[in-house]
Amino acid sequence: MAATALREQLNGLVNSMFAEGLLDQQFQQLQMLQDGSTPGFVAEVVTLFCEDSERILTELTKLMDQALVDYSKVDAYVHQLKGSSSSVGAQNVKLACIQFRQFCEENNKEGCVRALNVVKHEYYRLRSKFETMLQLESRIQAYENKQQN
């Protein structure tokens, strides 16, 4: 019973994330990809995404701290982040990245800094939710395993 409650909790969380626009359909696709043969696919992808994003964000922060910003590098990183976020379905992060790239094209430092903040904000918001989500998932997994045993 606890598993179903947890599952409901998880569904509610995911639904709220959809509702807030944190996630889009792509995430649904990911969920559909996860089945018996590939348990934990979503978790894997999400973890990968988080690692990747954090790396990129630190890089970006470093780049933006420099007096002379190398916009082409910044752009490359943002592009990467945009790619991975769209793959995961992190809608808000993706949109923020698009904005970021626009500023990047204009070589607008102020805008870039602001956009980076927005990206970070969105990302951290998403990450906290993802973390809860992953925790819930792992607990469900644990329960299920227990039941099987």
Binding site: L33, V45, D52, H79, G83, S87, G89, N108, G111
Partner: protein, 973 residues
């Protein structure tokens, strides 16, 4: 600048020189003309002088000759009567008497006298006969001489010379000698006459004794000479008389000279020192009958002939004309210069103005853009702020700020659009899109507002409009959103109705309608205006009566009669489709005085409009521009307090049939197809609204029967059931749709009871589901327990579908069936070896996950180089998905290298004898698909250029993935 000044200066000098030249030329003309005229007048004066002179000379000569003849006659008289008569018949008395009486014949001679020749031997005898002594001129007794010529007879006027010896005067003697030698009249040189002291000459004529032959010798003549007749010519008075008789004598000075001695001419008439106008004179020769003496007459003007007036006036006139002409030329030239200069200035100003216009647009664009950028920041921050913990007031403030910011952003976007259009930077793209789903989107956008106001908002797209069109969906949506937004803003009751038809179709219908209107019932307009309820969507009157039910019905029926025409003929001949979109509302309308500036930017009907309704009024002008860019026109019909109808046309392109069907899957919202064969009965008193509902249901594949009142429902159901019973079909779900205004609780209770009864009787298998259609929230409460579901208008095919799925309970399993595409994808990809190349781990993992799900064996590579090493020939991969943007070696470059490798291998295969592996392909070609996030034409072209076979969007979309993969991978099954 300096150059210009120098140029100006030169020009000024040049002009001055021209003026001086012109004036001097004119003066020259004046002088020349004057001189010429004077010359002409001089010549004329000279000619007249010559003729006058000649005339005078002839007259003088003639008169003189007449006098001489008279003297001759006298001589003959003397010879006849004095010498041939014995005794002589003549004496002094007779002679004096005769000469006095004939003096009138000799006006020029002061008097005549006869002197007899007396030889010295005869002197004594003669003196005694006469009784006087011969005296000399000095009145002394004559000295002894060879011969004498004493005057014996004399006219009384000169009687004082009687007895004077003429031979004693030098002149007279000479005269006498010459006269008797020649036998002709001879003249003396001029001298002062004794009596009058006038200048005169003495004429002497010889008198011979008779019998002298005409050709007598000089000696004979001398011998025969009897005496001499003489007379004094008063030349001065002669000439004076003569001149007095002639006209113009005052003007002319006449001198008569004796020029026998050419070196010293003797004056016979006129002053010794000639005066008067000396510069020209004329000399005429005079012949007075004396061959020895020569005379001449010299004439000249007494005064210088006056300069004729014309010699002044004519050149002056010409001069004035020249000056005027010069001035005119100068003025014209000046004017030409001025105009040219003005033109140049205008040209410059025009350029400036144009530049300013461009600059303005650019400025506007830049500024708008610059405002947008920080505004986005503001909005983003507000978003973030709203996510934090705020109390209610703070939240309210933040939300208000956000709403305002959004409004500002949309305004700026509009201004930017406008500026872009003006700067000519806006381009209309041409991509395939689904018109119906765009309209659905627009309608949903306004659904909240329309529900709030209780307005009927509906869309109808003609069946003949192709599903997929090529055009600019964004701009199309913008126009419609704008028009519908306006309508929603200004409409408080009634309806807003968006219709899309093919323009040519719609036109033919309206024309036909006008004709029938003329022939059939001419009072059509009257009917419309007097009728209390109108055949429109909501029953309210619309501004453009063309959209009333009568017309709409005709359009519909026309469509039905020509069902094939939507497909075949049009597709064949034209790839352009002209759509006619009508947005009709029953709002406040546009006042007549404002109607002509509706499309002017920032113009609203009046200032109160913007106060009451907000907005800037820029939207319509942008819409106009956009419509014009799409090759269409926009116009409207509006009646205050009745409503407005905006109509625009747009030229779009038909999509390729093949491409269209593919694109359709990607572009249009997928409508479930599970309702095929479902039947519905619609209760609606308003045919137009019914048609709209039918249109939406038909898109879902539901066949609709429309009845006008709820009482007709049972019949309709029975009719259907009859059909059903005769056919062996299994039970078909049936839906009963009822418009809210046809719904009233009494009737439906009746209906429900009847339906239940029927079911019990077995007349119908299943009670139809009852669906109530409402336009506003308040109507929802009407729904009683008999209603299965309430659908809020505006209708949208997808929402209707969702509701029906819920009601009928058929949706679920149908959607479960949906992964048909994925099934076929699995078929394609199952067991295939696929290489996925992407530097982004997340993307890589996701892509791999998707492909694995369809049964493919996936290998991953994180860079182009890795991929190349994995793809060394021979390899086992059936396909490769390649990210385009990668560091070090991007997808294009990697593909190029792979293709190079392949072509080398192929070349080798061809040369080397390697037929042992028959199964091996002779030409290597690995399908490479690009993975890209921005699916635009340029990227696609680049993909093809570097040897890729296609592209898939990232993240994968099933349909598109299938489409891309299906071309290259052959299903194993």
């Amino acid at each position: 600048m300096a150059e210009m000044v120098a140029g100006d200066r030169r020009w000024w000098l040049y002009r001055k020189a021209m003026v001086v030249l012109w004036v001097s030329a004119s003066v020259g003309i004046w002088v020349g003309l004057h001189w010429y005229i004077r010359r002409v007048s001089m010549r004329k004066a000279e000619e007249s002088l010559v003729s006058m002179c000649e005339e005078r000379a002839r007259m003088l000569q003639d008169q003189f000759a007449v006098s001489v003849n008279h003297v001759h006659a006298l001589a003959i008289l003397v010879s006849t009567f004095h010498y041939q008569k014995h005794p002589p018949a003549l004496d002094q008395e007779t002679f004096a008497d005769y000469t006095a009486r004939t003096a009138f014949e000799r006006p020029l001679l002061s008097g005549v006298a006869y002197a007899q020749r007396v030889v010295h031997s005869e002197r004594e005898l003669f003196e005694s006969q006469q009784g006087w002594m011969i005296k000399t001129m000095k009145r002394e007794p004559s000295p002894v001489q060879d011969e004498y010529a004493p005057v014996i007879y004399s006219q009384e006027t000169i009687s004082y010379i009687e007895a004077l010896d003429m031979m004693s005067g030098e002149e007279d003697r000479e005269n006498i000698l010459r006269a008797r030698a020649t036998g002709k009249a001879v003249l003396t040189s001029p001298f002062r006459l004794l009596g009058s002291n006038h200048l005169g000459v003495v004429l002497t004529f010889p008198v011979y004794r008779s019998g002298l032959p005409a050709d007598a010798m000089v000696e004979e003549r001398v011998e025969a000479t009897a005496g001499y007749l003489g007379g004094a010519f008063d030349v001065e008075s002669l000439v004076e008389n003569l001149l007095r008789q002639l006209a113009g004598n005052q003007d002319i000075m006449v001198n008569v000279y004796d020029v026998t001695n050419a070196s010293e001419p003797l004056v016979m008439y006129g002053s010794q020192f000639p005066d008067g106008y000396m510069s020209f004179s004329h000399v005429s020769m005079l012949d007075f009958g004396d061959p020895f003496r020569r005379h001449q007459m010299e004439c000249r003007y007494s005064n210088k002939p006056p300069i004729p007036l014309s010699a002044i006036t004519t050149p002056s006139g010409v001069f004035v004309i020249c000056m005027l002409a010069g001035y005119i030329l100068y003025a014209a030239w000046n004017r030409y210069d001025n105009v040219k200069e003005d033109c140049r200035k205008m040209e410059e100003l025009k350029k400036q103005a144009e530049a300013a216009d461009v600059a303005k647009s650019q400025f506007l664009a830049t500024v708008s853009h610059e405002i947008r950028t920080p505004m986005n920041g503001v909005l983003g921050m507000l978003d973030m702020l709203l996510d934090t913990n705020l109390n209610l007031t703070q939240k309210d403030y933040a939300q208000t700020a956000q709403v305002c910011g959004k409004a500002l952003i949309s305004l700026i976007n509009e201004v930017l659009d406008r500026a872009k259009i003006e700067a000519g930077k806006l381009e209309i793209e041409s991509v395939p899109f689904d018109l119906r789903s765009i309209l659905d989107d627009v309608i949903s956008l306004f659904s909240a507002k329309s529900r709030e106001k209780g307005i009927e908002l509906a869309v109808y797209v003609s069946d003949r409009v192709p599903e997929i069109l090529m055009g600019d969906p964004g701009r199309f949506r913008q126009i419609i959103t704008n028009l519908v937004g306006n309508s929603v803003k200004f409409t408080e009751r009634g309806h807003i109705f968006v219709q899309v038809h093919l323009a040519e179709h719609s036109n033919t219908i309206t024309e036909a309608k006008v004709e029938t209107g003329l022939n059939g019932h001419s009072g059509e307009a009257k009917i419309i205006s007097t009728g209390t309820a109108f055949d429109t969507l909501s029953g309210l009157e619309a501004a453009d009566c063309r959209n009333s039910w009568e017309n709409f019905k005709m359009v519909l029926s026309h469509e039905q009669t020509l069902p094939t025409s939507s497909g075949m003929p049009n597709d064949n001949y034209a790839d352009k489709v002209t759509l006619m979109v009508t947005v009709e509302d029953t709002g406040i309308g546009i006042p007549f005085h404002a109607q002509n500036r509706v499309f002017t930017p920032f113009m609203q009907a009046d200032s109160s409009t913007s106060r009451n309704y907000g907005g800037t009024g820029i939207g319509l002008s942008i819409s106009k521009c956009l419509v014009e860019l799409m090759g269409g026109q926009i116009n409207f019909v509006s009646r205050p307090h009745v409503g407005s109808t905006f109509t625009f046309t747009a030229v779009l392109q038909r999509c390729d049939k093949s491409a269209g069907s593919d694109a359709k899957r990607a572009l249009s919202e997928v409508l479930p197809t599970c309702f095929g064969g479902t039947r519905a009965i619609l209760v609606d008193r308003r045919p137009v609204r019914g048609a709209v509902t039918r249109y939406h249901l038909q898109r879902l594949g539901i066949s609709v029967e429309c009845v006008s009142t709820i009482n007709e429902v049972p019949n309709a159901i029975q009719g259907q059931n009859g059909c059903l019973r005769s056919g062996t079909h299994s039970k078909q779900p049936c839906i009963l749709l009822i418009e809210h205004d046809s719904w009233d609780t009494k009737a439906d209770v009746c209906l429900c009871n009847q339906l239940i009864q029927w079911k019990e009787n077995g007349r119908i298998i299943e009670i139809p589901k009852v669906v109530l259609l409402v336009t506003s929230e308040s109507d929802k409460t009407k729904a009683g327990s008999d209603v299965d579901i309430v659908i809020m208008k505006p209708l949208r095919a997808s929402t209707v579908a969702a509701c029906f799925q819920q009601v009928l309970g058929i949706g679920k399993q149908q959607t479960r069936d949906r992964p048909k595409g994925s099934a076929s994808l699995s078929g394609l990809l199952d067991g295939k070896n696929i290489l996925v190349v992407d530097d982004n781990k997340v993307n890589l993992r996701v892509a791999a996950g998707v492909l694995k799900k369809y049964g493919a064996n996936v290998e991953c590579a994180e860079s182009g180089k890795d991929a190349l090493s994995l793809l060394q020939l021979p390899h086992k991969f059936d396909a490769c998905f390649m990210d385009v943007q990668m560091p070090e070696m991007d997808g294009f470059e990697a593909t190029r290298q792979i293709r190079l490798m392949e072509s080398k291998a192929t070349e080798k295969n061809r040369i080397g004898p390697a037929p042992e592996e028959g199964s091996l392909k002779t030409a290597w070609h690995l399908p490479i698909l690009a993975m890209t996030a921005d699916v635009i034409q340029a990227t696609y072209e680049e993909c093809l250029k570097c040897g890729m076979d296609g592209y898939v969007s990232k993240p994968f979309e099933e349909a598109q993935l299938y489409q891309a993969v299906a071309e290259f991978l052959v299903s194993d099954s």
